[in-house]
């Protein structure tokens, strides 16, 4: 499913630039010679030979790069915090887990250009003074794991990694760690727990992982797309990067689009309006109209077509009740029932919630119960209010972002598809004819 979709001519490419089809298809992406000819490890050389650790951090910070893992935290700031923490050891962790089962963005990147991720990892490690770096990948993505392992071995052999890399005096051991078995592994504190061999439940922050992370040492956790953007920034300059995409979040990002007949990964400049992303997913099918766009994966927001002008950008999406999340943009046609879609998403998120805290263990479960009452035609008169109150309480009291985001499908559904939700909750009827309202109420259905 990791098809890379063509974007309109003129759209910039950063993450997949090297992997782009300048070389005949079928070349092995783990071939170090080809990769080096295409510019691999130029960024690392520049960091080591010209910039030095502090200069590297300053360049990344001035490029305005923000984390592609979902939260959009400024990368330079993260590195600065980790470098400033006194410690015997530091770690860099590349997060290539790709938690969302319907999104293959990180996997597409790793498979297409493993060296860009490894190079970014090495630059981050050099910049903050880390001697160990771990790259966590999904164990199910066998090809991604194999390519990364081959790439790390080749790069070590060539002296780009390992002891005294590029004669810089800096040692770096890179480990590929396949992990599996839980959606929550994508969350950074959970991923660190898994790397420590423990039960994967999130930790309270602060202290942030940049202060106390893997084995209690300062750790920079970075999404693989974030890492892959770093070499480009060092080679082409922070200013050129800052000029691409939107002002508040420059650069490009991978999105996973999913429409009726087409699904795939595309690289787009951050801040592209949703209107221009939707056509990448192909047509909806004859006679079908767009009813809603799910932005952000299982815990994403369900947006109406009126919001198609929203830029695909961290802050703008937050403001309309969605988020970048796993980078997935999914189209629902006019046959879909928003409440049923909300039920599916919420129950997936609730099942995957770790169970550590009450909003997580009980709050999300109650959300599912409310929406299941709605889709089976047995709502309670107070359910609408309860849904609103409970969502607000979960957002206020959550330990990790997962619970906060779990409320999004239903709250955005409430916000933009109010009449449809009301039909379920107040009249036990499903306008789209998807759910099973009880027999009595079905008579009164719209």
């Amino acid at each position: 499913m990791t098809t890379v979709l063509k974007t309109p001519a003129g759209w910039p490419s950063i993450l997949l630039a090297r992997a782009a089809a300048t070389v005949p298809a079928g070349t092995d992406p783990t071939d170090l010679d080809i990769a080096v000819r295409r510019g691999a490890f130029e960024g690392l050389k520049r960091a080591v030979r010209d910039l030095g650790p502090a200069g590297t951090i300053a360049t990344v910070a001035s490029s305005g790069l923000r984390g592609r893992g979902g939260a959009g935290f400024p990368t330079g700031e993260k590195w600065r915090a980790a470098a400033a923490t006194q410690a015997r050891r530091r770690y860099v962790v590349g997060n290539g887990y790709g938690a969302d089962p319907s999104s293959f963005t990180d996997r597409a990147l790793i498979e297409a250009d493993p060296y860009s991720v490894i190079e970014g990892l090495a630059i981050a490690a050099y910049a903050i003074g880390a001697t160990e770096a771990v790259l966590a990948v999904r164990a199910e993505d066998v090809q991604a794991v194999q390519r990364l392992e081959a790439a790390v071995a080749a790069a070590e052999e060539a002296g780009f990694l390992g002891p005294d890399l590029l004669d810089s005096g800096h040692d770096l051991a890179v480990t590929i760690r396949p992990v599996q078995g839980a959606y929550m592994l994508g969350e950074e504190t959970v991923l660190l727990k898994a790397l420590e061999g423990r039960r994967g439940q999130p930790e309270q922050r602060p202290p942030h992982p940049t202060e106390r992370g893997l084995f209690g040492m300062p750790t920079v956790v970075q999404n693989v797309q974030t890492l892959a953007a770093v070499p480009w920034i060092l080679v082409n300059g922070a200013d050129r990067f800052a000029a691409i995409g939107s002002k508040a979040s420059p650069g490009t990002i991978l999105v996973q689009v999913r429409g009726a007949d087409k699904a795939g990964v595309a690289e787009i400049p951050v801040g592209t309006p949703l209107r221009e992303i939707v056509p990448l997913a192909g047509s909806l099918g004859r006679g079908r109209t767009l009813k809603a766009i799910l932005v952000g994966g299982p815990s994403g927001g369900i947006l109406p077509p009126e919001l198609l002008d929203t830029p695909y950008e961290f802050d703008a999406l937050r403001a309309v009740g969605a988020h970048i999340g796993s980078g997935s943009v999914v189209l629902a046609d006019d046959r879909a029932c928003i409440v049923d879609l909300g039920r599916l998403l919420t129950s997936f998120c609730a099942t995957e919630a770790c169970g550590k805290t009450i909003p997580c263990r009980i709050g999300t479960r109650r959300l599912v119960e409310i929406v299941e009452r709605a889709t089976t035609g047995r709502p309670k008169p107070t359910d609408l209010q309860l849904l609103a109150d409970l969502s607000a309480d979960i957002v206020d009291s959550a330990l990790c972002d997962h619970e906060r985001l779990t409320t999004l499908p239903l709250t955005s559904g409430m916000r933009y598809f109010g009449p449809e939700l009301d039909a379920h909750l107040l009249r036990s009827s499903c306008p789209a004819g998807v759910c099973r309202p009880i027999a009595v109420a079905a008579g009164a259905a719209s």
């Binding site: 959606y183 029932c337 879609l341 789209a432």
Partner: protein, 228 residues
């Protein structure tokens, strides 16, 4: 000292009422330790002799006596790992037999456990050796054991606990969190299906998502994996 009927209960209730309106505090023992009278019988303390060395001789008598089995002894080994130093079973002699054995890290001749015990532990020992008995490599160890046996036998987890010094409950907690680790024999279809139904997982989600986007009829809650 005249006898007033009911005075006792009035006094008692007065104390209750007073306490009732006093502010309450939850003290997070052991991070915070309130002042306790030296005479307080619940006070846990290790005493030092006049040379400043601990008087405790690790005789395990306290562990033996503790009615809720909350006392044990531990320390840091040469690799900086914390181990509980289990006493020999005899030291727990006043306890129920199984409890004494379990605490000393031996296998328990408990009827309920018997059918779990008949596995050959050589593979577990090899895996543990490969990972240096390091509890930080717990996921690798568990994945290795599952690859060797097809599931995580109780006896294997006990062995891991004994060898790495990690609590059994901790290992169980880790193993039960990850979906790909299982405690059921692969042959046990009914049990496996029940586990799968409870955690429908990604395949079910993807299928459901594709359906929901095009208005496919929604299945009964039972079919979506919710267990009532």
């Amino acid at each position: 000292m005249s006898f007033v009927p009911g005075l006792g209960i009035v006094k008692g209730m007065a104390l209750t009422l007073r306490r009732f309106f006093e502010p309450k505090a939850t003290i997070k023992y052991p991070e915070e330790r309130p002042d306790q009278s030296p005479k307080f019988r619940g006070r846990l303390q290790l005493l030092y002799d006049e040379y400043g060395t601990l008087k405790c001789e690790t005789c395990f008598q306290c562990a033996q006596a503790c009615p809720i089995e909350c006392i044990d002894m531990g320390g840091i080994d040469t690799k900086g790992r914390y181990h509980v130093h289990w006493g020999p079973p005899e030291t727990y002699g006043e306890r129920r037999d199984e409890s004494a054995l379990r605490r000393s890290g031996r296998t328990v001749p408990d009827k309920a456990y018997e059918h779990f015990e008949s596995i050959d532990l050589t593979a577990v020992d090899g895996i543990l050796e490969d990972h240096d008995y390091d509890p930080k490599k717990m996921l690798e160890i568990l994945e290795g054991v599952q690859a060797a046996y097809g599931f995580l036998p109780v006896a294997a987890i006990k062995r891991i606990s004994f060898k790495t010094g990690a609590w059994y409950a901790l290992i169980y907690g880790t193993a039960s969190y990850y979906d790909h680790l299982r405690f059921e024999r692969p042959g046990d279809i009914a049990q496996g299906a029940a586990v799968d139904a409870h955690r429908p997982g990604e395949v079910a989600f993807l299928a459901g998502l594709d359906g929901a986007l095009h208005g496919a009829k929604h299945k009964s809650p039972a079919a979506t994996g919710k267990v009532h």
